[in-house]
């Protein structure tokens, strides 16, 4: 086993009945890495991500998190060690911003004062003024603000790993670029391992230390930005063309 790996896929297959959704997944994610899973809709990138926090379990092979197969973890404990951010709807509409951010600490029975202090600290970190935002409800926020709260919530219990499933998909391009840059910054400062799912190559290039390209349930390319650009795989070529379309105009 790769000693620096915080997450490792070993011969992983995932099937629902006869349908094989993921096959031959073999790769390791190093601690502190920013891995972007890239692919079209239905390529298996979200499913791959859900194997890490055991929202699903491999039908063959195993996924190791911190050296232990996910099946040997208590799945509740495992998930509380892994931050999870999904598209904007993931915030609880009946919780204030502060309660949303404090969710995992509250579940872990921190005392209320600590939870509040932590929530305010994180609001500062993601660039939202606590005095102004702590008591608001998600419906009273803009899309970009909601995503900031989503990131803050995932960071609350200081998990070493964060999973992010197209978190910026619904944002306008300007806010998206802003949040991408802040996230990259944040990841470097905090040293988190991030697995990030997107179908946008531009976003992958901005964020990733490595890009994993998914196609038909397999990982067809795995490498840095430069390696990805040199790849001759047709799916990688197809994605690279999406950039050239813009350049040509």
């Amino acid at each position: 086993m790769n000693s620096g790996a915080i997450v490792e896929f070993q011969q992983v297959q995932f099937a629902v009945g006869e349908r094989v959704l993921l096959a031959d997944l073999n790769f390791a994610i190093a601690a502190g890495e920013f891995l972007v899973l890239l692919g079209r809709s239905g390529s298996g990138k979200t499913t791959t991500m859900k194997l890490i926090n055991r929202l699903i379990t491999p039908t063959q092979g195993q996924v190791l998190v911190q050296g232990r197969p996910t099946t040997e973890w208590n799945s509740i404990q495992l998930r509380r060690q892994i931050g999870y951010v999904i598209q904007e709807t993931g915030l609880f509409p009946h919780y204030t911003v502060e309660q949303n951010i404090g969710l995992v600490p509250t579940l872990q029975r921190w005392n209320p004062k600590q939870v509040k202090a932590r929530a305010h600290e994180l609001l500062d970190l993601v660039g939202l003024e606590p005095g102004k935002f702590a008591d608001r409800y998600p419906r009273q926020l803009s899309g970009g603000q909601r995503q900031r709260v989503g990131v803050a919530r995932a960071l609350a219990a200081d998990p070493p790993i964060m999973l992010m499933d197209e978190p910026f998909g619904a944002l306008d391009p300007i806010t998206r670029v802003e949040l991408q840059q802040e996230l990259r910054q944040l990841q470097r400062t905090l040293g988190k391992t991030i697995v990030f799912v997107t179908h946008d190559l531009q976003e992958a290039f901005t964020l990733a230390s490595r890009i994993g390209l998914m196609d038909g349930g397999r990982m067809v390319v795995l490498g840095t930005r430069d390696e990805f650009q040199r790849s001759t795989h047709p799916e990688a070529q197809a994605f690279l063309k999406t950039l050239q379309v813009v350049d040509a105009q």
Binding site: L55, S75, I76, L78, R80, I86, T89, H94, R139, Q140
Partner: protein, 223 residues
């Protein structure tokens, strides 16, 4: 007052039977309140159960549906020979009203929970909430409006059906109605019907108010 109004206020049926109306209304409310409370205590957990065990959904809803379709007078009659929960008096009346309350309460609990945005449930699971935490902190608070709507329907239906309970000696406002029918006295019928309608309207408004207060809006209208 309309032209055919009684000559003096003291003859007006609500005044004339005032004391007895109050007593019968309390009996009436007691029957409905106990029946709805029991139906909530059984129906809400059952509604939650069928969100967790899809195989049970169909049978549970079919039974609740069938219960709903039995005519109320027939149900009271059917309960007459049944031991312990049957016979005459309050107990069989409460049993019958409870059975009628099941369908709206179970169905609304089920659909209230099933209508919680799957992304929200998934976010909760992904952050390591247990099934119980998810139910208690997310699903029930978000479904409470729909569940209360079911309780409201059950309550209003029961206030109407409870008037028939007087036929098996359970008391309540139906007592006036049956007496009025047998003596062909419209005032007496109204003395039962009007307060029953009034109670139904008040209960409807009160639970409706609670429902609106507790319903969580996730839309961006308050922005």
């Amino acid at each position: 007052m309309p032209d055919e109004a009684p000559k003096t206020w003291n003859d007006f049926f609500l005044i004339r039977y005032g004391g007895e109306i109050a007593q019968r209304a309390l009996e009436h409310l007691f029957l409905v309140a106990v029946a709805v409370a029991i139906a909530v205590a059984i129906g809400v957990p059952l509604g939650i159960l069928i969100t967790r065990k899809p195989a049970l959904r169909q049978p549970v809803l079919v039974v609740a549906n069938v219960l709903q379709t039995i005519p109320s007078l027939a149900l009271f009659g059917l309960l007459l020979p049944v031991p312990i929960i049957g016979g005459v008096g309050r107990v069989p009346a409460i049993v019958a009203l409870t059975l009628y309350s099941f369908l709206p309460i179970i169905r609304n609990t089920y659909s209230g929970i099933m209508n919680v945005d799957p992304a929200i449930r998934e976010a909760g699971r992904g952050m390591g909430m247990t099934q119980w935490e998810l139910l208690q902190r997310v699903e029930l608070p978000l479904a409470i409006g729909v569940i209360l709507a079911g309780i409201r329907v059950a309550t209003v239906i029961n206030i109407g059906i409870a008037t028939i309970a007087a036929a098996i000696g359970a008391g309540g406002l139906g007592y006036f109605i049956f007496r009025g029918i047998s003596t062909i006295d419209n005032d007496l019928i109204l003395a039962g019907a009007v307060p029953a309608a009034g109670i139904a309207l008040i209960a409807d408004a009160a639970i409706g108010w609670l429902e609106r207060r507790l319903t969580v809006s996730s839309s961006a209208t308050n922005r």
